[in-house]
Symmetry: C2
Subunit: 140 residues, 2 copies
Amino acid sequence: MVNNETQLSQVFGALADTTRRGMLAQLSRGPATVGELGAPYAMSKAAVTKHVKVLERAGLLRRDVQGRAHHCAMEPDSLALAQRWVAQVTEFWESRFDTLSDYLDELQEKERRSADRSAAGKTPRKGKGRRKDKGDSRER
Amino acid sequence: MVNNETQLSQVFGALADTTRRGMLAQLSRGPATVGELGAPYAMSKAAVTKHVKVLERAGLLRRDVQGRAHHCAMEPDSLALAQRWVAQVTEFWESRFDTLSDYLDELQEKERRSADRSAAGKTPRKGKGRRKDKGDSRER
DNA sequence: TTCATTGTTAACCATGTGGTGTACTATCCG
DNA sequence: CGGATAGTACACCACATGGTTAACAATGAA
């Protein structure tokens, strides 16, 4: 019956591939046959068949067989499901007042109070403590 | 440098797992340590480490190591990237006037004209021709 | 110093995924 | 009919993924 979680995984899984995203983008500009969907890519027909099947199972694509031609069209419902999930998480995050740095400040505060309570001058704030970079530390 | 396509694949790939979606949902409600992120799931710490690493590589999560605790927070930029991609495809699709059934009608029309042009009474419209189902043909 | 806590790393295993080539079915066309 | 076209199915391969256990590193605390 494929519950919501499973379907979400299938949808996101289907989108996690450049070729399939390309196919879906193509379909967003109009219906196409399986052959037309695979034309832009240097791969065997068998591979194309597989990709289309993945999109179909994820509910992102509808297929209409007419003679030997398999006509495909985008099915936006599953995409909307994914969109809702992302939007919900983003919304929730945006509704929060504090960010990581605020959170770390909270932690520091908590730790400070704890230190004050526990002893007079026992572990005098290890040098590493305060990392108020705030600058984008995007590595790798 | 991870181009956009690669990052999109990484983001969608990261979201294609229930556990990681759960972790991200948790992070949307506020920062957490790696241990806290893994707490709801019956799996080893090593597995949790891997999941967090996937989210981090996809740019969905930022990590701030403080002592032995690894504090994690949501990084919404990558999520926004995915959201934009989905929105763009959806928009394009919605802007189209025709759907699959319209498209099939077009095909029929084309075929009809072609048949008229090619000969007077050569192949007299194979019985299968017009499949104006219109009804949802959801199978499997 | 010693012990517990937090987390990563490495090796391993089963399964899934993206690709291939070949063979096959089904349809269209002359 | 025979041949070209559109697509699927199957067996295979290399590699990624999600999980395990065990060992390790680093920190915090008694």
